[in-house]
């Protein structure tokens, strides 16, 4: 092996350069499609939490930025029919058994839940993943409820003295989801005026 040492650096460098270029090119090619898919995903998750008869605008484009209690900005999508706000949808987060649970919450102008869906989570398959509407109808049972009906202290899982079922073997996940929805509705109450005003 009389090859000079720098030859290894050259080999490794060339491979890095080659594959780096290839990945950069692929990223360029896929960038637009991936962005489109993200918008489609957002549209379909919004469509699940706001009934189609409530709006005639493009939900994805009607975004209002509102700060939540922690200071982070929440993107609020507004459903409008004939120029009047009929409902809003925004992402809420719960802290589950395995990291954050992201949910999309739709609320009508009176503060009633129009629908809520889990959009991303890493909960245990077979246990915590029952929050997914594909696995169980648990998440659909929130539709039509609001703060006050049931009363605020009942917005908990049964184990904590509330009225919502937990899953056998998993309490942390439903507790996080119920808490997130309650927080989401409180967020609506706080910013109701701003969310519902029409320009």
């Amino acid at each position: 092996m009389n090859r000079p040492t720098y030859i290894h650096a050259v080999v490794l460098g060339l491979f890095c350069l080659g594959f780096g270029l290839m990945l950069a090119l692929l990223d360029l090619v896929t960038e637009e499609d991936i962005a489109l898919r993200m918008v489609e995903d957002k549209q379909s998750s919004l469509a699940k939490v706001i009934p189609a008869n409530l709006f005639d605008n493009n939900l994805v484009e009607d975004v209002l930025k509102v700060s939540d209690p922690s200071g982070a900005e929440v993107e609020v999508y507004r459903a409008k029919r004939a120029g009047k706000v009929t409902g809003v949808a925004y992402e809420i987060k719960g802290s589950g058994y395995a990291g954050a649970i992201r949910l999309m919450l739709g609320v009508d102008a009176e503060g009633r839940v129009l629908g809520v869906r889990a959009i991303a989570f890493k909960e245990t398959p077979g246990l915590g993943d029952k929050i997914d509407e594909k696995k169980s109808d648990w998440i659909t049972k929130f539709t039509g409820l609001k703060l006050g009906a049931p009363p605020k202290e009942k917005w908990k899982v049964k184990k904590d003295g509330g009225q919502f079922d937990q899953f056998s073997g998993a309490t942390i996940t439903p507790r996080a989801v119920v808490g997130a929805i309650r927080g989401g509705l409180e967020f609506f109450d706080t910013h109701k005026a701003k969310m519902l005003e029409t320009h």
Partner: protein
């Protein structure tokens, strides 16, 4: 030491199975086998990455110097994983929503790396491609079987969500075997260790009965 294709295929699927014999790739094996469908999806994505990276290393093997081979292997595996990740995200988005979480995990799997080192770095292009593909398929089979056992005992179902992974035509695969009284621990992490251990023991038992010598670890393919 060019092996015959028959041996390569047999090695990948059974004799030197990545999970059941070489005991490699245990991280995704434990993490992704709570259901048979998850195991199948993870296995197929891994098989694609393994076939592609084996092929590339076999093509470039004469240009890669001994001293920097490991970083080059890792670079190529990571690049292939990124290719799979980006293309699935852009053009097979439904599948990506199911597999997306698992794809980056492939980088942490040492089975592709081991096949690059012991096979693709020494063998011609075509056998290397076959080796990567069949090692990947063997990995897929092992993961699917482990997933199926865990899912049946732990949840009472089999191939739940198969239609999400393979398309609506595969709804028939989703079976509910029984309800209630499932042994939850099999879906939880300990179940992965228990089932994998039992399957490794079962494979050894069959091999001994067939009169094959007992091999511990990847003997003959030295890792």
């Amino acid at each position: 030491m060019t092996a015959s294709y028959r041996t390569i295929v047999r090695d990948g699927l059974w004799d030197n199975n990545g999970v059941l014999c070489q005991m490699l790739g245990m991280c995704p094996t434990m993490a992704m086998t709570a259901t048979a469908t998850n195991g199948l999806g993870m296995g197929l994505a891994t098989a694609a990455v393994m076939a592609a990276s084996n092929l590339l290393i076999a093509i470039f093997r004469n240009y890669i110097t001994q001293e920097v081979r490991i970083p080059v292997y890792i670079l190529i595996v990571a690049a292939m994983v990124t290719v799979v990740d980006l293309t699935f995200n852009a053009w097979m988005h439904e599948l990506y929503k199911v597999l997306g979480l698992f794809i980056p995990l492939i980088v942490s799997n040492c089975l592709p790396l081991a096949r690059l080192e012991v096979f693709a770095a020494r063998e011609p292009v075509l056998p290397s491609l076959v080796d990567g593909l069949f090692m990947g398929i063997g990995f897929t089979l092992a993961l699917t079987v482990i997933g199926a056992v865990r899912e049946i005992i732990g949840g009472g179902t089999l191939f739940v969500d198969a239609a999400l992974l393979l398309g609506p035509a595969f709804h028939f695969m989703e079976t509910k075997i029984y309800s209630g009284n499932s042994v939850l621990v099999f879906i939880l992490p300990p179940g992965g260790f228990i089932v994998t251990g039992l399957l490794v023991a079962g494979k050894r038992y069959l091999d001994i009965r067939a009169g094959k010598p007992i091999v511990t670890g990847p003997v003959g393919h030295g890792v």
